[in-house]
Symmetry: C2
């Protein structure tokens, strides 16, 4: 595991930096908040107003622990990422969201069923005692039951972070009972979450990122591809359009066009990666459009909030425009905000 | 390369068998016909009536030559597979179909465009001289031009093999000008071919086999799967139904149900491979249904011919029934029949 500290604006990084700064940040902190997923662990040190004092990022995801789980891998990863802070603030409350609460995680936090409110998430928090003596509060994931069930772990926290918006001036216990939203979380397993009455009403999962990676690395489509020097927006949007126009014929059919357009000289090798990305993301949005239509909603009517890396969210924003959805916007810091608000609601930290 | 000879009924295999039999078969032969694809080379020795006298199967596909192409890999593979026959019948006409005629093949046989008749295929044959002195006739593939072009190499030969049906009594030059058919060729890149007026009018490609393999080997879906002792038809049909009912939401969404149904105890580990197979094949057929609907055709109206391995074709037959298509049937020996009829039409062999 490699942990490195990201300096916050106006703060000093601690890796090889002033130990006094680490101690000072830890003493000023009101919450230690962890985004602990499959492949990474991000630790945020937050002050009493919810401002991020310091961040440490490690590769010690649930599937990538420094030592096996049964040999104390979670404690080891936690200590390596956060020990330097807890040394100076041993009673700091600690909250975590993500795969750390799954069956393969540190402790299983059973899913809360949709419609899922923040109160329900708080009520579902499960605690695990760390070797250092801290009590780690693990936020549960959300399950939408049904013939084709859906699950999330970590995204529920980001959703509530996005809903609460700006950190400041959101007093403990504020209810957003009338809040409705469509929130997109692109990535390996992209989620689209419908919020109604301030609760997660339903959501959809698309294996977009993972299937794109499998297509490029493990099928014939990757063989003729050349990575372009710059992302090729034109090729990307061309792929989106193909998926939008041929949505119901399906990805199995349209993906092959990356090859046949190449074979017939209509798509250069270095256009193929972005073209295929557009095809796959386009199919996600075409599928979402169909799912939304069941309740007479169209993407064009929505103003989705996007949570994820800026470059990926920007791709989605452009793709959404092809579906007539012109008001998508990117939300930052949803994870740490969500963790902060859930911790507030759980009484782990008091209001400023 | 490993070549092994398959004994025909009433014939003796030649691998370590009687050399006199090989010589006799070669002397009786009227055509050497090759199905030369990406990963394998199948060689058929046919008599003057089109009956298969002997078969040799090798792994020396175009992408798997014993030595690199530029060092004579095609000649080496051809010699290893067929040399034992040509030794006894050096003037035997030789015909080949498949990727051997691609840009990566022995000689490039440019695509014939749809609508493609057997005459057009014959006119597009390209010859390459082998080191042994034989003249290898390579059948061209077929291209359907358009905004999303489609290509095939090898399947065109199988299609005409299926159309000509039984070998016997099909005199040279027979025209099937009024013949219409829907022909399915399941596999790595499944094809569905619409025949009108005896010609390949249009066709669709679905990356079903390759994407299924990538999903099981290279995504999270494979991690919880256990191969069942027996194919699980119930799980397979459940997957088909999910894809049929959620076709337009797309594979990116429905594939994830293999995981969530597992997580929620509704799909056992050893049901997951066949369930996902049903989902993927179901999406192929749902996509085909949409493509056919553009010309007011439904699968339920069709009596498709299926070409491929018996077990895979049987899966497709069952899946097609879920789409109301009750008259699908499996066609055998389409490859060797197609090669034989094209060779006949090309004048390489005379009628009986």
């Amino acid at each position: 595991m490699k942990a490195h500290e990201k300096a916050q604006p106006g703060k000093q990084g601690a890796q090889g930096a002033d130990v006094a700064d680490v101690a000072e940040a830890a003493r000023r902190a009101a919450l230690l908040a962890l985004d602990w997923g499959t492949t990474s662990l991000r630790a945020y040190l937050l002050d009493a107003s919810g401002e991020v004092l310091a961040t440490r990022i490690s590769t010690a995801g649930v599937m990538n622990l420094p030592v096996p789980a049964e040999e104390g891998g979670f404690d080891a990863a936690f200590d390596e990422a956060c020990g330097v802070w807890l040394e100076h603030a041993p009673t700091l409350p600690v909250i975590a969201a993500g795969m750390v609460g799954s069956a393969q995680g540190w402790v299983q936090a059973p899913y809360v069923e949709t419609p899922a409110s923040m109160d329900a998430l708080v009520a579902g928090i499960v605690r695990v005692q760390t070797a250092q003596g801290a009590s780690l509060c693990v936020v549960p994931g959300v399950l939408e039951p049904g013939a084709l069930p859906n699950v999330m772990r970590g995204e529920e926290t980001q959703v509530f972070g996005a809903l609460r918006g700006a950190l400041h001036g959101a007093p403990r216990g504020t209810r957003h009972g009338t809040q409705s939203a469509l929130i997109g979380l692109p990535g390996t397993h992209a989620k689209w979450v419908v919020v109604e009455g301030g609760r997660i009403a339903r959501f959809y999962t698309f294996m977009t990122g993972e299937i794109y990676a499998a297509l490029t690395a493990h099928t014939i489509l990757g063989r003729t591809m050349k990575r372009p020097a710059e992302p090729d927006t034109h090729a990307f949007l061309r792929g989106v359009t193909v998926a939008r126009e041929h949505g119901c014929e399906g990805l199995l059919a349209t993906a092959f066009s990356a090859r046949t357009l190449g074979l017939t000289g209509q798509l250069a090798a270095d256009e193929q990666p972005d073209y295929l990305s557009g095809v796959v993301i386009g199919h996600e949005l075409a599928g979402l459009e169909v799912a939304l239509a069941r309740r007479d909603v169209t993407l064009a009517q929505c103003a989705p909030q996007l949570i994820g890396s800026d470059s990926l969210c920007e791709r989605y924003r452009l793709a959404l425009e092809q579906f007539g959805c012109m008001r998508a916007h990117i939300v930052h810091h949803a994870t740490e905000r969500g963790l902060w608000h859930i911790a507030m609601q759980a009484g782990l930290v008091g209001p400023r």
